[in-house]
């Protein structure tokens, strides 16, 4: 599904390489976790995959279902089925959640050449998802993420994911700022959504989220590279000993 080959990425504003030769292959139905210390390039990786401005691709390729992902606009990538749950979901004052969701869904459908969903079908769909995620009608009427708690914002991200039905989901530090109950609710939403045709890239600093969203592969990222790949036990190892064992691996490759 997704193939990243020897990707090197710098910041646009300062000539600093953040990702220094990263390769990763993700097949349909797989859950991959990328863990690493602060500044290792995890968030840059998710931003680059989603298409955020401010980065220069120095070399390497990213292929998504046979097409060059780096060539596509942000909204085209979304329509291809790439979704990123934001670490800090953005507030949009004055724009109601319903209006936002309907605009997003119909924009994607339009890009894919599908008919727009009518209001009645849309409402039915959204209400069903909101109920599962314990999101109140009152919250659905509010402007996007305005005045929402950290937990509400993350649930809202999961709601957007369930509605837009992407095939490839990036969870960017989704566990940050969540208490245990909220994390369980969010994880339940993700697990219900997972299927044999969908893949996840879970970016996280801590292991605890991986108790709920169990990865098939765990990659340790240090200084812009993946320095070790293992199964879920690798995450437990990190939890016990921290990243210090891996820092050396990063340097060793210089």
């Amino acid at each position: 599904m997704l193939n990243i080959d020897d990707l090197k990425v710098s910041l646009e504003e300062e000539e600093k390489q953040i990702i220094k030769g990263l390769s990763l292959s993700i097949k349909p139905g797989e859950v991959h976790a990328v863990m690493g210390p602060n500044g290792s390039g995890k968030s840059t990786l998710s931003s680059v995959l989603a298409g955020k401005d401010g980065y220069i691709i120095d070399s390497g390729t990213v292929n998504f279902d046979g097409s060059d992902l780096l060539d596509a606009e942000v909204e085209e990538r979304a329509a291809l089925g790439i979704f990123m749950a934001f670490q800090y979901p953005i507030e949009i004052p004055g724009v109601g959640n319903m209006n936002f969701l309907r605009t997003a869904l119909n924009s994607q459908r339009k890009t894919r050449g599908q008919e727009e969903l009518n209001a009645a079908d849309f409402l039915k769909l959204v209400r069903g998802i909101a109920k599962d995620l314990e999101i109140s009608d009152e919250m659905m009427k509010r402007p996007v993420n305005v005045g929402a708690s950290g937990g509400e914002k993350k649930r809202n991200e999961i709601l957007q994911m369930c509605l837009l039905e992407p095939r490839f989901v990036i969870l960017d530090e989704t566990d940050s700022g969540l208490d245990v109950d909220a994390m369980k609710l969010v994880s339940k939403g993700v697990n219900n959504f997972s299927s044999s045709s969908r893949s996840f890239l879970v970016i996280t600093h801590y292991q605890r989220l991986l108790n709920y969203i169990v990865p098939d592969f765990v990659h340790i990222m240090v200084d812009g590279r993946i320095v070790k790949t293992g199964d879920k036990t690798l995450a437990l190892h990190v939890e016990e000993t921290g990243y210090k064992d891996f820092l050396q691996l990063g340097k060793g490759k210089h």
Binding site: A78, V95, T103, Q108
Partner: protein, 506 residues
Amino acid sequence: MTDNYEVRDVIDKETLSTVKSVGDAYKYGFSTDIETEYAPLGLNEDIVKLISKKNNEPKWMLDWRLKAFNRWKKLKQPDWALLKIPEIDFQDQYYYARPANMKEKPKSLDEVDPKLLETYSKLGIPLTEQKKLAGVIEENPEDKSENRKVAVDAVFDSVSVGTTFKEELKSVGVIFCSISEAIKEYPDLVKKYLGSVVPISDNFFACLNAAVFSDGSFVYIPKGVRCPMELSTYFRINAENTGQFERTLIIADDNSYVSYLEGCTAPQRDESQLHAAVVELVILDQAEIKYSTVQNWFPGDENGVGGIYNFVTKRADCRGKNSKVMWTQVETGSAITWKYPSCVLKGDNSSGEFYSIAITNNMQQADTGTKMIHLGKNTNSRIVSKGISAGKAQNTYRGLVQIGGRSQNSRNFTQCDSLLIGNKCGAHTVPYIEVNNSTARAEHEATTSKVDEDQLFYCMQRGIGEEDAVALIVNGFCKEVLQALPMEFAMEAQKLVAISLEGSVG
């Protein structure tokens, strides 16, 4: 889903396809090839007399015009606004133009030149009575709203070309006609109220208008009548090199109510054109007027060539006790906008509201706001202004809140928000607050923000294209004002916001 919703839907589709086919940010830039009769170029006493004669006016009206003209000759164009106004040669303008076959006013719409009607239908204005404009809000099309009728008066260059629903309005006593007709048919009302809110010598542009106004709309709502439909005037400048000077007078007698809509467009031309209108609202005891404007005159091209110079004086006089006025404006067009719809709150417990969206893109300049003059006791005013600036545009909010010595317990609330798109535009807020009564309270809140890269990225990551994302964010920013508009205008205005900002990002 009602039939009317489908009608609305068809209009929307047509509007969208027009936008696409024009392939330009300004969708009303076409001109209608129609034979036009002009008065000679320039301005002098003879021109004023000619305009009066063309309208078959009584002598008192001509005298009024001449008084204004003589006064105007002594006035200087104001220069206090934050606007760079190229020198205007007032002698190099035509002050009167009308479609040639309108020498005899048409008695019904059937007699109107089909080319004119075609123009209006292109503009999405349903002039013929069959095409009743029905608004059903987009979000809940399953909700069946009652059919909403809108009576339309259309002013093409200098003359009114047709007013719809006249008979139906007349049956409840509402007078809705062109002002030229009102001068002849209802001289007592016109004499009593014309110039009573905006006096002849009020300001340079209002004075010019008093001398040369050629047409406009007149509305009288009798005592105790709630106008059964929205009234609307549609202004269109078509002729080249011609100024448009329309005058609107609306009187809401005791315990009456009316909602009035005004829309404006002009063709795309290289030369700038002058527009100096005057609107007077008279509101008596317990009466209420809602006045909404969507101003979309041609804004000039991206290099600032052409466009309308829009100098407008609008004022509401809340003479009666408990009278109410609400101005709502969406200003997206014009190269230059100079406009301050004001409320004079004379009656005790009267209230004035001003909701404004002013969008400037490319080289547009706007200096706009309001004046709230509190004279009566317990008067209330509320100002919500949303200025959006993109390209190299300059956008100024200028507002006066004045609370007089005898205005006990009066209140004002002002909220003034500016949004910048890009880093070559400017937003300015110039509030004047004069409080002469210790029991008064005036509050002012102001913010300036930028369309945030993160907001755009968030929308786009969810699949929304960049220009749609900007439109969504800006419409969110303007929401409080859009909500103040009548439904059918709100939808039009939302689309206009998107169109006005095309090309402002990326």
